[in-house]
Amino acid sequence: MSEFLMLGWNVAIPEVDIGDDIFVVQDDNGTLRRVQVKTSTSTARKDSFSGQFSVSVKNLRNISNILVHYIFLVRHNDEWSRPVIIRQDYLLNHFENNKVGSEAKGNITFYFSFTKGKAECSGQDFTGYIKDYTDFPKIEH
């Protein structure tokens, strides 16, 4: 949340939990971004670490006029990894067309591995999504 505030966006937590974790708002014009934060503990390897995340298939396929941004964070060595930020339609596209993630019982499990600043999921390079704040441009007040 503090990252969004630093970028000049305002943040709010929904009163009732129906899937979204944070509403990120551009105050002066009401532009709204829906954000869902996913966290994981890490599994350490020799030169890398990985995290496992579960995302509801129903939620991922529920493409509304305001898309959800998924933020994936791994707790590793008492620090949070750099966030992997993926908009819903891109994540769904990876799942449906690039065989990213594995589906079981209505959920998709994504395994992210982080090696020397690079991120990978099911063999696909996700490095471009690390700290990808494209849809949250800095707002000057």
Binding site: I63, N65, N97
Partner: protein
């Protein structure tokens, strides 16, 4: 050209029509002047009014969503399918070259 899949999501107040990023990339590659949109939302009341006075909404949604206006360009698509994102069912099919302008 393979069938283009347009996702249809029924929401509380209307329909959201969207295409996947890979289809957007494909459209931009084939038609460099095209401006495909992420999604288009149409309220239920707007849809029903539109269909009473003008005609089937889907025939007007796909050119706007794909960002392709030229009829000759649109005719290159074999089939456009409107698919319910939750069930996977094909709700509607359009073949642009068979449509009357």
């Amino acid at each position: 050209m393979d069938a283009i899949k347009i996702n249809v999501n029924k929401q509380m107040d209307g329909y959201s029509f969207s295409i996947s990023p890979s289809i957007r990339d494909f459209i931009r590659k084939v038609f460099p002047n095209a401006h495909p949109a992420n999604n288009i939302f149409v309220g239920y009341d707007t849809k029903s009014n539109f269909e009473i006075y003008i005609g089937k909404l889907e025939s007007h949604i796909y050119p706007a969503l794909l960002g392709v206006e030229n009829k000759t360009d649109l005719n290159q698509f074999d089939e456009i399918q409107f698919v319910d994102t939750q069930t996977g069912h094909v709700l509607h099919k359009v073949t642009p070259r068979d449509e009357k302008v």
